[in-house]
Symmetry: C2
Subunit: 328 residues, 2 copies
Amino acid sequence: MNRSTNPEAIEVGVVGLGLMGSSIVVSLLMAGHKVKAVAPISADMQQVRGRILGHLEECREARLLDEHPYPYEKNLAITEDYNTLVNCVLVFECVIEDLRIKAAVYNKIAVVVQSDAVIASNTSAIAITTLQSLVPNPERFLGIHWAEPAYATRFMEITCGDKTCMSYAEWVFELAHRWGKEPTLLRKDIRGFITNRLMYAVYREIMHLVEAGRISMEDADKAFRYDAGSWMTFMGVFRRMDYCGLADWATILKNILPTLSNESRVPHVMQQMVDDNARGTQNLKGLYPYSSEEAKEWEEAFAVFNKEIFRLAALYPSSRKEPVKQSA
Amino acid sequence: MNRSTNPEAIEVGVVGLGLMGSSIVVSLLMAGHKVKAVAPISADMQQVRGRILGHLEECREARLLDEHPYPYEKNLAITEDYNTLVNCVLVFECVIEDLRIKAAVYNKIAVVVQSDAVIASNTSAIAITTLQSLVPNPERFLGIHWAEPAYATRFMEITCGDKTCMSYAEWVFELAHRWGKEPTLLRKDIRGFITNRLMYAVYREIMHLVEAGRISMEDADKAFRYDAGSWMTFMGVFRRMDYCGLADWATILKNILPTLSNESRVPHVMQQMVDDNARGTQNLKGLYPYSSEEAKEWEEAFAVFNKEIFRLAALYPSSRKEPVKQSA
């Protein structure tokens, strides 16, 4: 495909300006794109500009941006009018995980944009193949899954549905490097994508041990923070195996795999949380107890941590340099 | 129990002075202990002092130590003579994962130490209850599982066997905080302890996806480095759930759990690695390709990263402040 991968030459749209949508706008502005930001909910219009400028200012303070936010800000238009998307070659949908609402949004985007524009969903819950059936041009539809905060994480999963044309996915893959991402490209939809799926394997085992009274949640968190957390950002799981020498792993896998949980029902503790309308730090009801000060402390501390780990991750060998492709 | 938890008042022993044993000695010296280091293999005697002093010097350079290594060094005795352990109230066994060798070592320790001394194994492969059957005083035997490098990681799993007396485990738990650890205390032996077990749940799922050609190892490593790696060190898995709000998790668990791998056989790719005598960066044969320069680069970069993440982890709320105990 002969599409530009120079962000300054590419106008993009973002539809849905909640926390995640705003943070995606920031990342795209920082990369140099002109961004048309569309608020499908009028109420969002009020705070969006302030929130986006606030993030840009934070990034400047954290030295993720060299310049004053102003030059970025002038590339941003915020509106409720879908017609401003007319020249956007890539439009990000970031609305809630509701099929009916997404369908309406796709329809409004599709009638405005040019025939070669790509639509991308930030869904983390619905299969891309399912969403694809809602758009008139499914070959130009794909998933682009960001991690929060979008402007200070390197993670990105680009996922094709059954009908996605690979050349569009490959163009987005190239472009994503210009956004400072280390993207993965999933040629076929997997339920839960990669990262969710792997973490759910952990949750299954951990909940099993917690329910059996073998470990506490606090212990599990410590084990992750101080063991896995001491190498995860640096090398991931397979390179870790290489680093430790491989032979022991096969022996231990042989012993441990047959003892792992194969549970398929929702763990009791999670069902209880849902029944209690627990929303964690958001409503001070969660797996751990929180005062409102504590919830605020966690949020503020995480904002700082995130920028530090982002910088730390960047110091180490980029996976782009690595030649291995084990499978396609 | 009325035992001191002031490292300066406690003499400890370390038996087995390979890479891990040496690194444990460094951590104990830094905490202020007098350390008797016993080399069961004469060949180890040659390099041990240099290696330990090298680590101390590195720690000083990385500002994990304020002072010159000298005051620490004078608390260290290195010997082949088990009789020097006579006044040690805690002896760490760090020899290879071989039952026969461990039994011989325990016997040599037990005949020398006082009747109230505790013996701790750094095993990550053998059940504590099994090892416990090899010592004359099983109630004073437990597992203390360190992560490498022992002096620059906060991870520690303290594990009881069936016969371990809890008061000794609790004393070690308190003491471990003086070593700069964030220990977990497992009251009952679990095969694979906590951290290994949880990571093996990941390996099972990931290998399944790789073998099915759905993802590449490189993609899996990216997903971990840039997604899980962006919060793991900060909050662990359960607090992460609280932070993100909990309700979505129950829905996604319900959808994904039944689709996860329940495989119990060793994945083909791991068996292949063992058959090929692949030892990763150690012999330049692994899941990824390595030149000897690359293997060296990974090792050096990891040594730097490890000190940085150690410092970063310490900036954030200590789990000691958290009051929750979900289970015992």
